[in-house]
Structures are given as structure tokens and as C-alpha cells.
């Protein structure tokens, strides 16, 4: 338990009907009681039962009433942080919120760091590290799928899988280390082929979790789609069209700003993250410039490429470009989007198709300006995304820190399997297994350090 008592405004910043100020720590009740006056004269928050709400006023040192409030008492260990917690529900005035915070600080509370409440919940054993991280993901979730992943993880779905793995590995390493104790006698307690079967099972489990990152990351951060094309082919018009399609969804959610969901668009339930690229200039001698290099880099970051071509402005080096982009986009879905299709005659389409005959991927004919076949493009995007559906309870890795730890664990367990094949000694096997366990432990936080914790909780909002 920490010695300090922390406080922060836990509701969204700004003016609202009500706001909630949270206090957590050994003196949470004492400090809150010092600024709280109930109607009953002999009232004390310190005597209130856990999970009860009291009505009264917050007063300052001159006994001036700051606000009429509701105060909820939680008692250690049955609270979010595991400590004594008080939640003060006041009117959502900026002045009132700040004033109450100030009064609590005058009493001896310390302003909470971002994520400090959740960090204390972790330190007090209320949740493991992957669950704590899921709290932040849950708060940031804006779509059904990102919410579902966070919820599963917060409720321990991921931790359960990892616990199973660690138990299996622990059994494994125990036998091997037992052998080491009897080293001079050269015994083998465990059949190496059985060990290998077990290691292979574990390897597959880790690989499955690790593989789920691609989906998890796409669901959490959006599937990266690069918009590529020459200048003035209508990329911006198309992007705006796709973003506008989303306006109905966005406006349903209060307070979402472009900062939060910048260039993210929900199309039929899937989040896409559109990466705009500098238009490629239609000049042969400049084609190898920095601009196109950067566009190539963005292509590499994307999973899907929307290559937009202006049907009315076909440049001479189109074929050459096709080849180059196709090469960079290897393993990615490329959708060739013919824009301004309403501006050309039927027979010109044949010329188009001839020009792009080398291109084997999907082709869509649209007009971004006149909103022709946007629906077709959206369907093509959803098909290209090829995301498996996530069901409630499915464990999906969506955190790069977890992914890296799993990758390291995978390397270690593969060394174990290789070691068994090569008949290496138990002490080396044991070392690799311990390493694998170490990396899995990093995910749940059973192995952690201040730097890792600082990184994780620093990204939280204040008040959580």
C-alpha cells in the first residue's frame, strides 16, 4: 500500500450536469470527511458503511458552502484500487470541480498522475498488467469490436490463457531442474519426446496468440489503407466522401474530435485508417524523387492499397508505375480505383483495361465527385480487409507490447524444441524455458519494472 492519498477529477474534462472526483488511499475517508458536512450533526464519513451514498455539502475552511454533493464510500480491499476510496459527485461546474480538488489537496491529498488509480489497482493485486492495460483500451474504444477485445482482456480472458501456458511451462521446467539436481547420476525423468510434444503445443498456443495481433491491431487501430495516385486524380474528394459517409456515426457520439479518430472511418463495422500520400507527379524525370519514395514507404505500412486513377488523364508512364507499385505492394491487397468514370465513353473503358492488363487485382469504377459506386468501393474494402469475426470471449492480442513479448517467448520456446531435437543438456533447456516464462510474465506484470509501468500508465487519462 502506498502512503499517499491521491485525488483527481475522474469524469471527462469540461462542463457537465455532474462531475465525479475520486479519492483513493489510506486517508481517503479522513480527508473527504474534513471538507464534508451532512445534515445530521453527528455524521462522520469514517463511520459510513462501504457501498453507501451520503448527501451533504462540501465546505471550505471559512465554512462557505461550495456545493451540495453525493459522497460514496468504498472500503479496502473492496474498491477499484483496493484502497479506501471516496467518490464525490458534485455539480459539473468548472469552478466547483477545481475548488473541491483544491480543498482535498489542502487537506493533504496529492493530485493523481495519469492512470495512477489503475496503477494502484495493479500494485494492490486487483488486476494484472494486461487487465490494467485493457482499462485504457476500454476507455478509448469507439467501435463494437475494439470494445469487445478490451472487455475480454479486462475481465481476464488473456490472463487465463497466459496462466495456463505458464503452468505448463512450470511443470516442464520443474522436471528438467529436478534432473539437474541428480545430474551426476545422469537420470532422465521425462521422456524427451513427450517433452517435445508439450513444447510444440505451447509453441502453437503462443503462435496463435501472436498471430492474432494482426487482426487485433487492425481492429484497435484501424486497417491501414494507403491512397495512392498521381496528383489531381481525386484522392481528396474520395477521402472526404469516405469520411463524410461516416459523419452520421461520428455525430452520434458526443465530443469525438478529429484528434481522436483522425482519418479513421467505420465502414460496415470495420475501422479503416486512411493514409493519404503525396500525389505522384506526372513528370518522368521527377519520378524517382523523395516524394515517391515516401509514398512507397506508406505503401509498406498499409494492408490495403487504393490506387486511384483518373480515367480522363492517363499518363504515359502508367504501365511503368503499375509495375513499380505492384512490386512494393507485394502481399498486400491492391484495389485499382478508376475515378471520373462518368466522364469517358464506353469504348474508352476498353483502352483502360488494356492499359492495366498486367494488373491482376480488384478493379472498381467510380466517380468520387458525383458519388457513383462509392458503395461498390466500400464493399471492396470490407472484402479486402478479410477480418475474421471476433466473438465475445475470444482472446485477441491488440497491444504491441504484448505482441513483442509473445514474439520473444516464441523465439525462446522454439529454441527449446530445437534443443530437444539436438539433445542439448537440461541446464540449457531450463534456461530457455525460464526465458519464455519471463516474457509471458512481462505481459501480466508478474515481471515488471518502473520504466515499463511508467510507459503504460503514463498513457492513461487523469482520473483513472
Amino acid at each position: 500500500m502506498k502512503a499517499t492519498t491521491i485525488t483527481a477529477i475522474s469524469t471527462a474534462p469540461g462542463i457537465g450536469g455532474i462531475a465525479v472526483i475520486r479519492v483513493s488511499g489510506i486517508d481517503a475517508l479522513k480527508h473527504s470527511n474534513a471538507i464534508f458536512v451532512a445534515k445530521k450533526k453527528s455524521f462522520s464519513l469514517l463511520e459510513q458503511k462501504a457501498y453507501t451514498v451520503s448527501f451533504g455539502s462540501v465546505v471550505d475552511k471559512q465554512n462557505e458552502i461550495i456545493d451540495d454533493v453525493l459522497v460514496t464510500v468504498f472500503r479496502s480491499p473492496h474498491s477499484f484500487t483496493g484502497e479506501d476510496v471516496v467518490e464525490i459527485s458534485c455539480h459539473g461546474s468548472l469552478f466547483v470541480q477545481q475548488k473541491i480538488l483544491q480543498l482535498l489537496i489542502e487537506q493533504g491529498c496529492v493530485l493523481a498522475q495519469p492512470g495512477e488509480f489503475t496503477q494502484r489497482a495493479f500494485l494492490n493485486g486487483k488486476m494484472d498488467l494486461s487487465q490494467a492495460e485493457a482499462v485504457a483500451d476500454l476507455i478509448a474504444s469507439t467501435s463494437a469490436s475494439s470494445h469487445r477485445m478490451a472487455m475480454t482482456q479486462m475481465r481476464g480472458g488473456f490472463s487465463t490463457e497466459l496462466m495456463k501456458l505458464r503452468t505448463q511451462l512450470l511443470n516442464f521446467v520443474s522436471f528438467i531442474e529436478l534432473e539437474l539436481d541428480f545430474n551426476e547420476e545422469d537420470v532422465e525423468f521425462v521422456d524427451r519426446s513427450k517433452l517435445k510434444a508439450l513444447a510444440t503445443d505451447i509453441e502453437q498456443l503462443i503462435a496463435r496468440l501472436s498471430d492474432s495481433f494482426q487482426v487485433g491491431n487492425a481492429l484497435k487501430n484501424g486497417i491501414p489503407v494507403a491512397l495512392v495516385g498521381e496528383t489531381n486524380v481525386g484522392k481528396s474528394t474520395l477521402l472526404n466522401l469516405l469520411l463524410n459517409e461516416d459523419k452520421a456515426i461520428v455525430s452520434e457520439i458526443h465530443g469525438t474530435t478529429r484528434d481522436v479518430i483522425e482519418d479513421l472511418v467505420n465502414i460496415k463495422g470495420i475501422t479503416f485508417r486512411f493514409i493519404d500520400t503525396a500525389g505522384i507527379r506526372d513528370t518522368k524525370d521527377k519520378i524517382e524523387s523523395l516524394g515517391i519514395e515516401r509514398t512507397y514507404q506508406k505503401i509498406e505500412q498499409a494492408s490495403i492499397i487504393l490506387w486511384i486513377v483518373d480515367c480522363t488523364q492517363l499518363s504515359e508512364h502508367m504501365e511503368w508505375l503499375t509495375e513499380r507499385i505492384a512490386k512494393r505492394a507485394e502481399g498486400k491487397k491492391v484495389i485499382l480505383v478508376f475515378n471520373k468514370i462518368d466522364k469517358i465513353a464506353e469504348d474508352e473503358r476498353e483502352v483502360l483495361d488494356l492499359l492495366f492488363q498486367q494488373f491482376s487485382g480488384e478493379r472498381i469504377y467510380i466517380s468520387a465527385k458525383d458519388n457513383i459506386n462509392t458503395e461498390g468501393l466500400q464493399i471492396a474494402l470490407v472484402l479486402a480487409a478479410q477480418l475474421p469475426e471476433i466473438n465475445p470471449g475470444d482472446v485477441v492480442v491488440n497491444n504491441i507490447r504484448h505482441y513483442e513479448a509473445l514474439q520473444n517467448a516464441l523465439t525462446a520456446i522454439r529454441r527449446v524444441i530445437e534443443g530437444i531435437d539436438n539433445g542439448i543438456t537440461g541446464d540449457f533447456l531450463s534456461q530457455d524455458i525460464r526465458e519464455c516464462m519471463h516474457f509471458l510474465g512481462e505481459i501480466t506484470g508478474s515481471i515488471s519494472n518502473d520504466e515499463i509501468l511508467g510507459n503504460i500508465f503514463g498513457k492513461f487519462c487523469i482520473g483513472k
Copy 2:
């Protein structure tokens, strides 16, 4: 009691650590219970005691968990609205907030209109109309004084004063109407001179309340200060300087935006509202243009005029302007601000003073660009404001609706006094007294109509 059960997100819009969704009405417990699952199997919110908090999950119809939440139960009449109320405290994710709201609506809740919770509190007799209005003022309060006024009013300070007045008037009118019953006998139960003394007392009380509006309005909305001057005299620089001085205060308060406190500046605890005006052009023939007319209008809206003069650019018609502006600014405080004072020599100052010898008000010499004597200007502003200090509990009128009602009541009570002086008959006196009572009743809402209520509560935020 209304038949519908309403719900809304009551905390500030946006992402936060936690958010609170409020449900009020006869089915608040039933609808909340339908989406809530506690750990205990036989748990039901309907059986929970008032003022208790339960931990559990919100689930959708497919039993998928949406969030882990805390649910607080309040029971009629001991709640904010006077109805059964449930507050669901969830994680502050946009998705989660919207989803829970949606689930409640699917159960049969109706999305609350702005201020509808407070309106129900009023309709259910939990507070009178002036107290309900104070709730909105309290939420909007950003300074100690505006907060103090709202708090006093919300806790019934204003209502108590009005109640006293109405009781006195009721006694008054009862005697007179008693006389009317005995009309034919031509009795006078009450000495007319005593009646007049009472009416004069009441008149003074109403006048005092009504007079406090000037202070109350200034404290609530800021004291209007017009910045007047020719173009390029440094008005913008000065305004920015004054606004920047305030940055420290503004940034202490999360989420305040220019939308909310546009051009409001707290200087030494007093809120000033700066009204920028179009610069007056230094051309004789254009001086009577629309621009200066508009500037004149703005001068009339202001209590304080900052007339800014560029010491290095004295135009020929300065004297003429001084006269004109002084005429428009009659009864207002005018502060003559000599800007760019560091750019002129000592002897040039004498020329300045000579040029403005007709001007009898305060003069301040500053440099907005080099931040010379800004402090002096601030002190001059505070002195010009001449605001009496508001103490906790002081009743101050800060609402234009109340002010208008008080003005009407004042007219009526003055007619009563005049009537006594002129010896008019009891039935006319009674009519005027009833009218005075009517206007006082409009303030507390004992007399109200849907239009008035719609106007008042429509300005609230949703969720309160």
C-alpha cells in the same frame, strides 16, 4: 409525477476515466435492473435500499458484457428529481456510454431533454423555479463570485426573501379584501397610513433586490468593457495582453474553451467582458460612417470604456472625437489609455495632456507591446468596476427574467402607494397588490407556464 422514465449521460461529453448515466422515473429501477447483472445470482436492483451502491455488469440482450459498472439507487421522494433515480457509473468510453444509453432506451427509457431532470425536480416540488435556474448558473459558474451567487440562490436564499415579501403582501391584501366584503358598511379595518408604511417597506425591499441586478449581472456575465480607438493604435495587442494575463487562470481549469469564456478575463477576482470595436478610421470624411455608429452602440452596451490612443500617431480630429465619445459615454467610466508611451519623449507628453485637457477621467500611460504598466491599467479597471463585495448568503439578482419580474412588481407596488395617497378604493388597491404578488410568483415558479419553463430548461445541458 410524469409517466415516462428519462435517461441521459450526466457527466461532461467526451472520454473520461468514468462517466455517469442517470435514469429517473417510475420505471428507473425496473429498466436499469433489466440490463444489470450482479455477481450474486438472486440479486435485483428493485430490492436494493436507497443510497446504496452495487457492483456488477451491464449486459446486452445477447448477454454480452458491455461494462463493469457501479449502480446507485435513490428512491422517491428522496432523490434529486423526487422520483426513483438510478445512477450508472461506467468507464468513460464513448462507445460504452452510448451503448448503455441505447440499452436503456431499448428497455423503454426516453432520452432526457436538456434540463429535464431539474425540471422534474421543480415539478415535483423539490425546488422552486429560481432554485432550478440557480442549478444552471452553478454549473456555468467559473469564478468565485458567480459561484457564490448561484449557490446562495440554489440553497433558497432568494426564495426566502421573496416568500417574506409575499407573506407581507398577502396579509396586506387580506385586510383590504375583508374591507371589500363589508363594503356597504364603509368600514376601514386598517389604518391607511400603516398600510402605506408597510407598502413602502416592501417597495424598498423589491427596489434593493432589483438594484442588485446591476452587480449580479456584472458578476455573472462580466463587466462590459468597450475597447475604443482608431485603427492601429494597439487595441488587439492590448486585448491579447489582458487575455494572456489570464492564461494561468484559464489553464488551471480543464476543458475551458474560448467558446465558453470568449473574451472574458478575470482580473483580481472580477470578471470583465471585453467588447472589441471596429477601429475608427483616421479620415475626416468617413468619420460619420456606419463603422463609428456601431462603435457608438457598443459604447452604450459597456459600463467601462477603454479609449486607446497611440501616442505616436495623434490625428487632427482627436479633440473632436474626444468630445463625441465623451457625450456617448455619459454616466460610464472612461479610461484614456495612452499606448506606446515608451516611444515618445518627456516633453511630448505635455502636448498630449494639452490635447486631451477637456477629458476629465482617468488617464493611464502604457506600452501594450512592451508590457509597460499593464498592472496600472488592471488596477484602473478594477477601481472603475466599483463592485461591492458579495458575501456568502447575500441575495443578489443576476437573472434577467427575475430582474424584469421585480421591475414589474416594483411598478405595481408603487401604484399601490400612489393609490393610498390618492385615497383610491380597496378593490383597485387589491388588484395592484395581487399583480405585485403575481410577478413575484413568476420568479419562484408558483405562477408559470409551459413557454416560460421551456425557455428556462431548454438552456440547460443535457443530463441535468
